[in-house]
Structures are given as structure tokens and as C-alpha cells.
Symmetry: none
Subunit: 195 residues, 4 copies
């Protein structure tokens, strides 16, 4: 028998999948326990409540994105276009491989009006995402404009992910990414020309 390594981290990772696919209220502690290979009651050794677990999942995912995704935006060795390319690639990889769309947006929309604590954490995630994109755009735009474009871009991606889920068609995300890149390239071209 393979020794089941069930630790806090495992519970979080399995819960992440369950919450992303089923949403917060529709996911039961039982669903999560099954996903972890545990019994219902055992989850409470790691997390004092479903709410705490959800928060831990959001935080874990935020950290993960920070480290694995957003960090790319600050990589000094790459051009802005390259960075956007890589961000798009990793983003598509994530959303294509893991069914259920974007946990942050899903949970955010489901609970925005009723669980302010979740919204706060989710806001932190989007804040860093926007900041990362804004950093790239600042190469050719002033700080305010860069921020504005970053917000729009995040909106475009999330909107596309939503349509992707509703339509069961991956094209939306790809096209949103292309659009974002083109906008950057156009700005780059305009800046080069001017110089």
C-alpha cells in the first residue's frame, strides 16, 4: 500500500480542486475528505472550520501565483513582450489543465456579498496580479495608465475564463491573451517610432 501522505498542504491542495469545481457552498466537507482520502471528521485536525479551510486555500493559491506566475513580471532578464508571452503560456496551461475555471473569480463572485473575509483575501490576489501587469506596461505608459491597462487586462482574462466555462470553448482565453499582447506590441512600436 502506498503510504498516504496526508498533511496540511495535501488537504489544501485537494480542497482547492474541489472548491474550484464545485464552489464554496456546494462543496461539502465530505467531498473534500474523500478527495484527501480521509474521513469527514479528520479534516478538523488541520482546519477548525470550512471557512478557515477556504481561507487557507485562497492564501495558498495566492502564494503559489506570486511565486510561480507573478514573479515572472519582475524578471529583469526578459523583455516585456517575452514576459507577457510567458504569462499567457502559463496561464493557459493552468486553465486548460485544471477544470473549473478560476477559483479566485468563482469564489469571489459566489461569496462577494456574503463573506467579506474571502473577498478581502481575493482582492489581495487581484491586487498583486494587476500590479505585476502594470509593472510591465510601465515600460511604455505612465504609472496611472499602466495600472488602468493592467486592470482592464485582468478583467479581459477573467471575463474570457468565464465565457470559456459557459461555452466550454477554450478559444476565448487564447484570444484575450493575444489581444493583451498586441496592445503591448502596438505601444512598443509607437514608442520606438517616436524615438
Amino acid at each position: 500500500m502506498p503510504v498516504k501522505k496526508v498533511d496540511r498542504r495535501t488537504v489544501i491542495k485537494e480542497s482547492l480542486t474541489v472548491f474550484r469545481q464545485k464552489g464554496y457552498h456546494n462543496a461539502t466537507m465530505s467531498d473534500i475528505a474523500v478527495a484527501c482520502g480521509l474521513l469527514k471528521g479528520s479534516i478538523y485536525h488541520y482546519f477548525s472550520s470550512k471557512e478557515e479551510l477556504m481561507k487557507a486555500v485562497i492564501q495558498y493559491l495566492h502564494e503559489w501565483y506570486k511565486r510561480e506566475v507573478f514573479a515572472l513580471a519582475y524578471d529583469t532578464g526578459k523583455s516585456g513582450a517575452q514576459k507577457l508571452e510567458e504569462l499567457a503560456a502559463i496561464s493557459e496551461q493552468i486553465f486548460y489543465q485544471e477544470p473549473g475555471g478560476c477559483l479566485m473569480a468563482n469564489i469571489g463572485m459566489e461569496t462577494a456579498n456574503t463573506y467579506p473575509e474571502f473577498a478581502e483575501l481575493i482582492k489581495g490576489f487581484f491586487e498583486e496580479w494587476i500590479a505585476a501587469l502594470a509593472f510591465i506596461f510601465e515600460e511604455f505608459f505612465d504609472s496611472q495608465k499602466a495600472r488602468s491597462i493592467a486592470e482592464l487586462s485582468v478583467g479581459e482574462i477573467e471575463g474570457a475564463v468565464m465565457l470559456m466555462q459557459v461555452y466550454q470553448d477554450k478559444g476565448y482565453l487564447k484570444r484575450a491573451h493575444q489581444h493583451i499582447k498586441q496592445r503591448f506590441i502596438a505601444a512598443e512600436a509607437a514608442a520606438t517610432e517616436k524615438a
Copy 2:
């Protein structure tokens, strides 16, 4: 006992508010009954289940948008810019006045993976929205490009509405609308110049 007449339409409209704010799973039949001034069981006089009620709400909202919003796009007496202006105005009015964001996106993201019947209806809604915007963009773009821009625009609006909820900041939606209008005006200018 005073016999209040609460008709089917009223139940749908009150449910719409409850579902938009609380989501599908977090909204209880009791919540809805209270909103309607009825008892829990009385809702079942008109709808055989919570699921049926949700579907009726989606359909009602779809019809409403068709009639009150999407129709504007086909109004022959107005310019494309004017139409976009009006669509933006009415859209903002809706999303600012009624708390909870966009029911279609909220419910869509909450249930996309678990309630295919909802997703199908919601898809129908987005389909008509996209078609309406595409119709406007066809003035200056070929059919395929117009469709693509329309999809992107809907994504931008929905992404903005999501950020609006998470950030509790109405600016996102306004800026998304402005962006969409500017894209149209730029295309218009380019077309005029060429001529």
C-alpha cells in the same frame, strides 16, 4: 388571515434579487419566501423546485435584457457610438443600482461545472449579448472580427463587474465601457480617414 396575491412574476423578480446577492446554493427557499412575503412552502405553488425557479429567473432576466437592452443595438435611428453610449449607460445604471453584480456571471461561475442546464441557459444570454455588440461593430469590421471584438467586450465588462464586486469600486465598469467606446471611435476615425 389576509390573502395576499403574489403572482409568479413577483416570485421571479424577488428571487432574482436574492439569487444575485447570495448565489444559488447560499440562497434558501426561506430567503426567497421572505422576500416575497410568503411562507417557504408557498413558492412550490408556482415552481416545482429550487432548480426550476432558478431556471425561470434566468429566462426572465434573459428576456428582460433582450427587450430592454440588447434591442438598443438594432435601433436603426442611432449611430454606433450613440448605441454604445446608451448601452453603457443602461448597463451602469443596472449594475450600480442593484447590488450583487451580474446574476448571469455569478450563477454561471458558481454552477458551470455542476448544473449544465443552467449553463446552457446562461450561454443563450451571452450569445445574444455578443450578437448585439457584434452587430454594432460590423459597421467598421468584417463579421468575424466584429464577433471577436464583441466577445472581448463582453469579457471586459464581466471582468470589470467581478473586480467591481471584489474591490467594491464602481470605477472598473466605467473604465471598461470607456475602453469599448474608444475602440469603436478609433475604428470609425480610421474608416473615415481612409475614405
Copy 3:
């Protein structure tokens, strides 16, 4: 449109069918209303409660059997064997044509321990049935023995009807009837021989 004649008697007759097939607790006033072509509330014009309706149905069926079935046993123009033959024929006709077995036994067994008022009425029915058969057997048996055989015979028929329902096989009832007739014929033969 055929004018629907919905009177008390119709309600009783339709209810009879519903109760026989679904039992007392599993039959809803709605089921009955549908069977009558009425709406739920309208039944209450004729009967003050489900319980009253059930009692009326039992009484109606009792009267019907008395008039159409049990009376045969007292027909002076026929031999005992003939009477048993005819009773068997009509009994089979009823149980074969109308699905759901014997309402009296069904309701009796379902409610014997919880609705003494039903049991009392149902007892009245069986009392007359037993008396009718006993009357026939008294031709060749003393009163006590005749009663005893009659009780056994009714038990045989009802037991057979139960097995008929569980097995979905009509043979049980037929064989029970044959057995009852043979018993009579054997007694007849013994009596003739003795003389």
C-alpha cells in the same frame, strides 16, 4: 366537451381506485382530485377530510359487495356449488380487472394498528362476507363448522390475492377458489353417500 358529472358518488368511485392502488397514506388528495378531474380544494365540498373520504369509500365498497356479490349467496334458486362458482367468477373478474388487489385488505393491513375507525368498518365488510359463505356451507355443516370454514375460505382468498400481487401471478386466486369449491363438493358427496 363531455359534461363532467362530478358528484359525491364519482369522487368516491375515483378515490376507491386511487386508494386501492396507492394505499391510504401514499395517496394524496391531489392524486384523487386529478382522478376526479377536479382541483385539490374541491374535494372538500364533498368530504370534510381525507379520513372521512376513506371511510365513505369503505362504506361504498361494502354496500356494493353486499348488493352485487354477497347477495348471490342467499339466492334461493341456486345450488351451493352454483353459488360458489358464481362468487368465484365475479370475484376473479373484479380482482383481475382492477389492479391493486383488495382495497379492504390493503387498507386494513396498512391502518389496522393506527386507525381503529377504518378497522371497524372493514371488519363489518369481512363479517358479511364470512356470513354469506357460512350460509352456503350450512347446507352440509353445522353452524359453527360452517362459520369456521367460511373464515378459512375468506382467509384463503385474501392470502391468495396478496400472493397474486406480490408474485404478479393470477393463478393464486384461481387455485384458492378451486380449493374452496372442491371442499364443498366433497362435503356434498359425503352427505349424499351417507343418505
Copy 4:
């Protein structure tokens, strides 16, 4: 709070009593929970639904009869008359001690037309009962005739139990048993005489 351990078997046994006395539809999960000393929801720890519980009860009772009652029929150390005697004794003991009549017949008649899954299980019970009696009768009758007498006998017993309930008079069952024994003894005498 004292944690009482109420195991699956106990739930089944308590439910059996409740179902026999109140019937399937009239017995509530609350009734059963009270009988078990549990709360309503706790029953679902062992059984996923009322229907599943009912089925488990039927199966449990079937097994019990098989082991404790029907097995007697195949006991090689006893004469047929002895076996019938013992079967009658144990049968009377059961039906006299435990109020509510025969669960198999009660539930069978209540649900035959609406719950085919129950009917199937109940049929299995009667099948083994009939087979057991037929085995005894095969001592003096050919296989087909023995089966036929066994069916009749089971019908007689069940019919008697029904009358016993309706009349609240235990005599019916006793007389049915006597009748069955006498039939066997008469056959035995006939066979002996012939030899």
C-alpha cells in the same frame, strides 16, 4: 453528552417494529429515531434513505425467518407432523407477541403497486416459505401438488393474520394452523392405509 453506540443491527430491529405497526408511509424517520434513541438525522449514518432502511429491514427479517423458522422444515430428525407443529408454534409465538401482524404482508400490500423493489424482496421471502412447506408436503404428495398445497397454506396463514388484525382475535391464526396440520395428517393416514 453521553455517546451511545447504536449499531446498524439495532436500527434495523427497532425499525422493524415501527414499520410493522405503522406501515411504511405512516412511519416517520423521527418515529424510528425515537425508537432507536437517536436523532432523526443520525439514522442516515447507516442508511442513505428511508427506502434503503426498509429494504434492509425486509432482508434482515427474511434472513431471520430462514435461520429460525424455515430451517425447521428441513430438519431430518423430525416427522412432517412434528415439523408442522413446531412451525405453527413458533409462528403463533411471533404473531401473538409482536403486535402489528406480518411485516411482509403489511408492507407488501401497502407498496406492491408503487415500490417494485420492495415487492421483489418480499417475493423472495414468500418463495422460501412456500418452498419450506412444500418440502414437508412432498412426503405424501408429488412435487407439483406439494407446491400447490404450500402456496395455499401460506395464503391461509396470511389471510388469517389479516383477519386476526382486523378482528383483534387470535383464534383465526390458530384455526388456520390446525387446518394445515389436519390436511397433512389426513394425507398421511391415506398413504398409510394404502400401504
